[in-house]
Assembly symmetry: C2
Homo-oligomer: 154 residues x 2
DNA sequence: TGCCTTTATTTAACATGTTAAATTGTTATT
DNA sequence: AATAACAATTTAACATGTTAAATAAAGGCA
């Protein structure tokens, strides 16, 4: 296999195994999965997906916002958000209406049923997050967040 | 909105806005997206998705392996892997056969056409990764990888 | 050997990611 | 006012993520 690499004029280690733990994309994926593993069962018990929870929680915090701002804050692409909004509205957890100032925009608002879900999920979410923070270490977690944000913005 | 929180016996800041940059799951998501943004156009130009590329590259490195080991290494769930294997085989980039020692297992092997893709993609991939490493800093990147792996395993 | 349990893979069903194109409403310009 | 350029959302089409169930082959044991 490595003879082929030489013939093709590649570095001789072009096909040598690289540890996937040293691959940044996969390391980020694994870390995220490990974190979500501890949240997902709780969210599933309340019948919301991770993305649906982000939308509901942000509406609880922000009041009325339009779809674009939601996409930004929740880091969800517009086509996904369209579908998520549809299912959340069908379930009566959010309200959707046109912006009269700008007919292109869709304004979102949480319903009492949506607030109920926040009241149920948020305390459990906090417990899970605090447990994670204790296990990993508060300062190290803050450092990690700084480094991740620099990677995302730099 | 915060009166509701008090009535429900929650912490008074239960519904206050939290910066999504300080949310670990979203920070991991954003960081990963920022990284993949620099790889995706190149992969798309070679008509492979990120996951397809992981499968192809690992087969180039490892020779013959079964589907379970591939799922482990590429960090892809079994149902996704089934579909990816199907499309890669239809495109003639990999081979698939039953293991005669254990009829449950599926053995995977790369084809010459698959190796061709590795020869085309790998050099460009290295360039992109090195550019990233230079911008972010080698030592910081190593530290980040260590911290991510600890988060994933601890 | 025959049955039970376990393991590897696949299928199914639904949710989201991803890109491009279509739709609809605004804004700017003439 | 008519039209071109732009912006927000949706639709479409395909790929992957996620969980549960089905299928098929091995392995263990009475």
């Amino acid at each position: 296999m490595n003879e082929n690499a030489k013939k093709a004029g590649m570095a001789p280690d072009a096909l040598l195994p690289r540890n996937t733990k040293r691959s940044l994309p996969i390391a980020l994926l694994r870390a995220r999965e490990a974190v979500m593993e501890s949240f997902r069962p709780m969210l599933a018990a309340h019948d919301v997906t991770e993305q649906q929870w982000r939308v509901i929680r942000i509406l609880g915090e922000q009041g009325v916002i339009d779809a674009s701002e939601m996409a930004d804050r929740a880091f969800i692409l517009a086509p996904s958000l369209t579908r998520i909004i549809r299912t959340l509205e069908e379930r009566g957890l959010i309200h959707k209406r046109k912006d009269h100032k700008d007919g292109r925009r869709v304004l979102l608002e949480i319903t009492p049923a949506g607030i109920d879900i926040i009241y149920k999920v948020m305390p459990e979410s906090r417990v899970i997050y605090e447990r994670l923070e204790q296990r990993y270490g508060h300062d190290k977690l803050e450092l990690l967040l700084d480094m991740l944000n620099e990677l995302a913005n730099g």
